[in-house]
Symmetry: C2
Subunit: 331 residues, 2 copies
């Protein structure tokens, strides 16, 4: 399985996620408790990974599995980072409006590049750095509020705390991704075994969140297991399966490709969602959406095309065009 | 004199041109006949070039000057192309509004790249093509109509003729530039001699235009030489000198650098004007202006930085980093 096939599938599924979530709403609201969706997605991922691990165990040689506590104790860390991230996100939204928050969200593309360089010690060429910044610029461009849209002037008018928290949020989001990549690549353990550990903690943390919600609301909507499938339609189940599947693909990419590939997949998915919305929900296409798409496509080409294709160089170098691709599939 | 020094000076002067023209207006209109400005600028350029040529003639060896009619007859061609361009521009504006016209004007960056490749047979790397498209995207991004601005929805709603004429206009503008570069580089003639020929025809064509204006208006404002210095302030004279100086710099760049350098200079000037307008005329800075500037800066780096700086390559290639720069200063 090639990484670009997985990345393309991730783009399509992530894009469907936005569309399905919108379709699962009725009259602009959810009939079901949205917080139950990520929990069920974690359970789905855990089940799939367990079955695949069990099948792998029956074969020979058996999969590599590190079962020391020293290793296992690292697997809740991504969940903990996401938990902190969710709270920072919540705090940020008390200072800035959702549109400013969305624009600032593009910062995580750049912070991922930086942490990828610092923590995973991966070298990026000058051109690849530019490609990463361009990707963030492209997604931001596509989100520029157009002529005639409602809320204006909000972007530069939030209090400084809002921007600081937005930057912190982008760093935490990047940190979670980079840490997961570190976990997946730190040894040759079976991907499914690593997934089982990751999703067990994921399910536990999501369940804890549901319980906390119950205590906060004073059980007025009943305990969480009563709300679990309440108001679920076929579309809601598709949202769950879709979210679970994207999680499994991200996990695969973290082990066999890297965070940058994931960032490209999800950014392209955002643009694809906007294009699909033009057709499905009668969104008005804007010039900035078109410009953003062209910018992101060029960024993609700049980052992934072999250098010999991009610049004219003496023939001696052209004999080794594989080195660039190898770096990202085998590492 | 290095080409990047001339290019920077051109950026500053072109940017001042916009500011000075705005400052030369009173109550939103011109007290003087604006059509006299380009004519006087041509005369200024002709005078400066004549003096410099005369000084060059006194030195030994004397400058190279091809005085055959076969060569001289090519020099009115840029003026003729500009004349056609002006009329196409006028026709375009009957179909599209000025804001759409301005957005379409960025196409000339791409058409210049194409004609530069086709007519002057200059090879551009894959990355340089991307840089040129990015420059056009960047200038367009900076011009995206923001939230709360007046005219909306105009960009995609013009009749097809408007877009066709806009493309024709971009091609003619590029053709004039590329043809001038061909003229300046076709032999080793003195730059000043080439300028004298170019500006003599330029002055003649501009004078013809003034005479035509007189006939069209039935001499109601008197013959053009009566209007020549009418209502001129110090600022108007600065506009004339500035326009003349930018012309001389462009001419220098056409001989010793190329059209792409000129396109970068004038695009950067447009952005600089917008930034200066924020301070001088209290223009509201927009997110799209900021994004556009970052895109154009990256495009600049992508186009002009030596390939070895942009991509990581085996050390053998790094020994010849000069080849890229040489190509553009000596050709």
């Amino acid at each position: 399985m090639q990484w670009y096939f997985v990345a393309s599938l991730l783009t399509i599924l992530t894009s469907s996620q936005g569309i399905l979530t919108t379709l699962s709403q009725s009259n602009g609201g959810y009939k079901y408790d949205y917080a139950t969706v990520p929990f069920l997605a974690e359970v789905f991922k855990l089940l799939v990974s367990s079955v695949l691990l069990w099948r792998e165990c029956k074969r020979s040689p058996p999969p590599r599995m590190t079962t020391e506590w020293k290793s296992i104790r690292l697997f809740p860390i991504p969940s903990i980072i996401y938990l902190i991230h969710n709270n920072v996100q919540f705090a940020t939204l008390t200072y800035v409006d959702t549109s400013t928050y969305q624009i600032m969200g593009n910062l995580k593309i750049v912070t991922t590049g930086i942490l990828f360089r610092l923590f995973l010690r991966r070298k990026l060429s000058n051109l690849q750095w530019m490609a990463i910044v361009l990707l963030a610029i492209g997604t931001t461009t596509s989100q520029v509020r157009g002529c005639g849209e409602a809320s204006c002037d909000s972007l530069f008018s939030a209090p400084i705390q809002g921007y600081m928290l937005g930057i912190l949020s982008a760093c935490l989001s990047a940190l979670a991704g980079v840490y997961t990549e570190f976990l997946m690549k730190k040894n040759d353990d079976s991907l499914y075994w690593q997934n089982v550990q990751l999703y067990t903690f994921g399910a536990i943390f999501n369940m804890a969140r549901l319980i906390l919600d119950d205590y906060r609301s004073g059980f007025e909507k009943g305990p969480w297991w009563h709300r679990l499938f309440n108001g679920y339609s076929v579309t809601t189940w598709m949202v769950v399966l879709n979210l679970g599947s994207t999680g499994l693909l991200v996990s695969w990419l973290m082990k066999y490709a890297d965070n940058i590939v994931k960032v490209y997949s999800t950014s392209m998915a955002m643009l694809l969602t906007m294009v699909l919305s033009v057709f499905l929900f009668n969104f008005k296409p804007t010039l900035q959406l078109f410009l953003g798409i062209v910018i992101c496509m060029m960024s993609l080409h700049m980052y992934f095309a072999p250098p010999t294709m991009l610049v004219d160089l003496p023939l001696t170098v052209k004999s080794a065009p594989e080195s660039h691709i190898d770096r990202r599939t085998n590492s």
